[in-house]
Symmetry: C2
Subunit: 314 residues, 2 copies
């Protein structure tokens, strides 16, 4: 039986193998993605982001459990912060996630940095295609931090939950980091801590000051994920946001925008691979760098000369 037949038959082992194939961009992975893509299209994607220590893993844990109880087939991707030098994901988040009861059938996958800008966002987006084709209808993507890479990942989600903790100045940090713009729902987690009410208030004030371009009023929910307080309410807001996007046609619009970016990324990636193979072998670059270091060239002229060579063959 082929791997793909096993995958279609619902084997999680086959799913994991196919994900690894895609994640490591092994030979032929784009053909695999093409094939998988056409059998998917039903999965709803929820992104959870926020600063380290906000309890994102616990929140995802609880929400994934609630979604599974509601009858959804649920997958979780944890995007781990990790070194671009070692390339590996660390175990912390993965281990924490394991207290999602296994009998709920939630599929969990950790992903680590691929070591190049945009690489992890693209790899994560590719892995979602496999999960979608496998039949999951609900995906949670947890990302740590608020850097550009995380924003690229979040950009590919349908609903975005921003998790914060009551700490002085955190509402302002959130504002600075652009979290106000991406949040569809705020979770003020660890709400038993001092300053929780104040933070909810600060966020409300900040959101009210924003020019409103949308009929969606961003809910701000005070939660305690580990003690399971107010998770039901948070989950209700998730389903309400999904219904809102569907009703208004915004979901289709969002998907179209995401697809444009995706097509462009595949194109650019194909060109980059072609360049690496045909134009940028070690000797050529060494030669160019030597010329630049001797003051005979500069990286801007050299890069543009390579472009002309690629485009016009001269």
């Amino acid at each position: 039986m082929s791997l793909y037949t096993e995958f279609q038959g619902g084997s999680e082992v086959a799913l994991s193998k196919i994900i690894s194939h895609i994640e490591n961009r092994r030979e032929g992975y784009q053909e695999v993605l093409s094939r998988l893509y056409r059998t998917g299209g039903r999965m709803y994607r929820i992104g959870i982001t926020g600063p380290p220590g906000a309890g994102k893993s616990s929140l995802v844990n609880r929400l994934a459990g609630l979604a599974a109880e509601a009858g959804h087939r649920v997958a979780v991707i944890c995007v781990d912060p990790s070194s671009p030098f070692t390339g590996g994901a660390l175990l912390g988040d993965r281990l924490r996630m394991q207290d999602i009861p296994l009998d709920k059938g939630v599929f969990i996958r950790s992903m680590g940095s691929r070591g190049s800008t945009g690489g992890l966002a693209a790899a994560t987006s590719n892995v979602t295609v496999a999960l979608d084709a496998f039949g999951f209808d609900t995906l949670f993507i947890e990302t740590v931090g608020v850097g550009q890479m995380e924003l690229d990942i979040i950009d590919a989600c349908d609903t975005v939950v921003v998790a914060l903790v009551p700490e002085s100045g955190d509402a302002i940090q959130a504002l600075k980091a652009g979290l106000m713009e991406i949040a569809d729902i705020f979770a003020v987690n660890k709400a038993d801590r001092a300053g929780s009410d104040q933070m909810v208030y600060d966020l409300q004030s900040a959101m009210e000051m924003k020019a409103v371009h949308s009929e969606w009023i961003v809910p701000i929910v005070a939660t305690q994920a580990t003690a399971n307080v107010n998770l039901d309410e948070l989950y209700r807001h998730l389903t309400a946001h999904k219904a809102y996007l569907e009703k208004t046609g915004l979901l289709a619009q969002k998907r179209a925008e995401q697809l444009k970016k995706k097509v462009e990324r595949v194109l650019v990636k194909s060109i980059q691979r072609d360049i690496d193979r045909t134009l940028l072998n070690g000797a050529v670059l060494d030669d160019i760098v030597g010329r630049i270091m001797r003051g005979e060239d500069d990286p801007y002229s050299a890069g543009q000369a390579l472009f002309r060579q690629y485009k016009f063959g001269s």
Copy 2:
């Protein structure tokens, strides 16, 4: 008098105008960069990174002052966290930096997110070319956070200072975020806080566990930037690291690697601009997205078809 003549004459107004030209990628900016590149080459670049709240601005403030006192011509770039949606840098860090005494002649520039992955790292790298050509011999680049974008910026520096604060688990967070691999020097700032000794000890232990590939022993300096405690020592380690890189030939090696990446980036950027102009106009992408949404195509096949069209014209 032309802008470039004023620039050569030492006008900071002309410098600022040229930086804006480069930063906003206005028409002809690559030619400007080519020209500037060939008159530079002497500037030493120090990156300072670490989690929010580590006191990076204060550290840069003090170190820039010390470098200026030692007779260097010093510039500072603050890379602000900001929204990819609003595109603007926020004022907080900029304002904080202003307590560098103006009579020390330190030039300060803030840069905000350009809204695309890799865009800010490339823009920052381009701006350093202008600062170098202007005659600054020492540059501090402050970046907030430890995302991929920050790592790309740090990658273009000669010496990297990682700033941390004594907080439980922060040494482990630093390890997880890959900061161990990029740090040439650690500053445990706000060292008057509880847990400072413990953190220095934790970092030392973690560094000792690392396989040593280098003769450079990463110093761990307990500092209090706002109270000016131990900044002299931190500065001495900076100059020692510079001397080490020069003596061993590692600086030239590092610069060659950075140049390779730079040439490749210019090439890819040129291709991307060409694609946007010739291939990816709105109607073409709308058409493709429509086909994908009707299930007649998928983003991977569509992207590769566009690649073949670009490369072979069919």
